[in-house]
Amino acid sequence: MANGVSDVGADAPAGGFVQLLTPDGERRESVTTADGTTYSVDFTDEEYRGLYHDLVTVRRLDAEATALQRQGELGIWASLLGQEAAQVGSGRALRPQDMAFPTYREHGVLYTRGIDPIMPFGLFRGVDQGGWDANEHRFNGYTIVIGSQTLHATGYAMGVTMDGKTGTPDGEAVIAYFGDGATSQGEVNEAFVWAGVFNAPMVFFCQNNQYAISEPLERQTRIPLYRRAAGFGFPGVRIDGNDVLASYAVTRSALDNARNGQGPTLIEAYTYRMGAHTSSDDPTRYRIASEVESWKAKDPISRLRAFLTKQQMAGDEFFAAVDESAKTLALDLRERVLAMPDPQPVTMFDHVYPHGSPEVDAQRARFADYHASFEGSDH
């Protein structure tokens, strides 16, 4: 129940965080938090390289999306730049049976679930609003209204318990993603209430990227966010969100606690949004370049690269190959995004109700008639 304030790395915020890989690429064997929990990872060289591969790939895909947006091919893009470690680490920590509830920024988590990265592009291009099957992908639809998905995740987790799928090492667990700004929403706090009362098998994963659009963290709280959990009766742990190993280790542990029947955990991944909030945003209006600069030194990818290099797990050839494969994937993505067909306008009448509605049917029919009346004219 105690809060997981860990030993303080040189770059840690007051109160510390769990860090297994320093910005310089130094590996700490393990970290033990104040409540006595020890976090570590036990990866093979191949797995370390795999994480690097993921980080580079999701960053590259993100960059491609940013470019597509600038070229007018996407209506908007919510970049994950800077948050790759938080997402890849936590995403890789999920077991296949687990269920994730993202916001609109979890492209990295999506990728780690083995989902085709094009999946959310319909939404950002404006051809649909997501449109995927949450259960098929064990990955809920992107949720735009801040915080709402945390309640969905909690209800889903209650269902996991009701289905008898907790209490064993191969039970199911649920993870809900949200931002620092979201912690102010009533609904998110209600999710904390519910999760506590029903001992829901879930992990609340808060990516504290220091901003909610233009508003810095102190507009949402005067104490570190991970401490919120204690007020609801479950543990909160802060991690170095730019450290993929810490993100993996702590999320894996929290998920396993959940699946074993030990209830919820809040993880605050302390990170930074390196880019704009979305492509519509202009961060120069509210933050100074030196702040961004200082976070560059904590980059999640370069530290893993330094580590791999020092440990001689990988060399230039590997890094080049990873860049190349990421680029190939990105270019493939680009092509497929450009090829996305515009939806037939009449399809906007589809999927309003599972059982349909005579009213919607009538409107669809009138719409079709009306548009047919223009056929051949210059409309």
Binding site: G131, A191, D350
Partner: protein, 328 residues
């Protein structure tokens, strides 16, 4: 076997049967367990089906609906009780932005077979927030189906139909009619019942059409009885479904009678009556002998209990409107 039971009890039976027939059905809300709800609609259900099927939730309506969404994604069929009409608003965001839209957003991949039960309307002498008629807020929202029962038999079948349906349904219960009795065929096969979205001609007549739903159906029927003494034969339509509305039944009636009066408790301004009047005026333009008239709550907050009788549409106001229609 037909039994004579109250509307409240009929709902209780309908919920019980739904719990029996599908173990994915769960009931959730404030005080729905041991207490059986403040109106006892869920009386005895937790005892018989357990705390996992009939869930006393924390006191937060957004939480109730938001977790119901998650349970529905998981494959459950949550039936959520909102304690009173005036307490649904903390859940409004979840209802209009999530429940109503997830099927659309997911291109039909995610169904949310959620029923949101709301005791609504006035006439019980209650304090503020306990007598409201918020149905228009939901009926205006695409993606939600909205229904209201007016009698025990409909209560029994409609709640089961709503639970069986994969559409999200907001189910308005006429709280002042909870204690009114009627015959109910318990255990009857639902396939024989009227479809959930069909209106019903509750009384056949040829002189004018009264359109009502929920608690006002009784009022409309009483008015029709009174009017009959004056030699006016009124047709009464019980809408049953508020969104979508079964317009064919309405148009057929109004084309026959040439006059229509819509009755509801909710404030008139942009209420359901506005839509009905607009549609009827358009679709029955050449049949109408008089404009569609509305008898509704006034455009003021629901007043203190000692004034509610004057606020609520009653037999006299309905008859007055009928008179005005004939006087046009």
């Amino acid at each position: 076997m037909a039994e004579t039971i109250t509307l409240g009890k009929a709902l209780n039976h309908g919920l019980r049967r739904s719990l029996e027939e599908n173990d994915k059905v769960v009931i959730m809300g404030e005080d729905v367990g041991k207490l059986g709800g403040v109106f006892r609609i869920t009386d005895g259900l937790q005892k018989d089906f357990g705390e996992d099927r009939v869930i006393d939730t924390p006191l937060a309506e957004a939480g109730i609906i938001g977790t119901a969404v998650g349970l529905a994604i998981r494959g459950y069929r949550p039936v959520c009780e909102i304690q009173f009409d005036g307490f649904v608003f903390p859940a409004y965001n979840q209802i209009v932005a999530q429940v109503a839209k997830m099927f659309y957003r997911s291109k039909g991949n995610v169904r949310l077979p959620i029923v949101i039960r709301i005791p609504f309307g006035g006439g019980i002498g209650a304090v503020e927030h306990h007598s409201e008629s918020p149905e228009a807020y939901f009926a205006h929202t695409p993606g939600l189906k909205v229904v209201s029962c007016s009698n025990p038999s409909d209560a029994y079948t409609m709640i089961q139909q709503a639970i069986t349906s994969d559409d999200p349904v907001v189910f308005f219960e006429p709280k002042r009619r909870y204690w009114e009795k009627g015959d109910v065929e318990l255990g009857a096969d639902l396939s024989g019942a009227d479809p959930l979205h069909a209106a019903r001609v509750a009384r056949v007549g040829g002189d004018a059409t009264l359109i009502a739903y929920g608690p006002m159906v009784r009022t409309a029927l009483d008015a029709a009885t009174a009017a009959a003494e004056d030699g006016r034969n009124l047709e009464v339509i019980d809408l049953r479904s508020l969104s979508p509305v079964d317009y064919e039944t309405i148009y057929a009636s109004v084309r026959k009678t040439g006059r229509a009066v819509v009755v509801h408790e909710a404030p008139g301004n942009i209420g359901l009556g506005a839509e009905l009047a607009a549609r009827i005026s358009e679709q029955c333009f050449y049949s109408l002998e008089a404009p569609v008239l509305r008898v509704t709550g006034y455009d003021i907050p629901y007043p203190a209990a000692r004034m509610e009788e004057e606020y609520l549409p009653d037999l006299d106001r309905v008859l007055d409107a009928v008179d005005r229609s004939f006087g046009w």
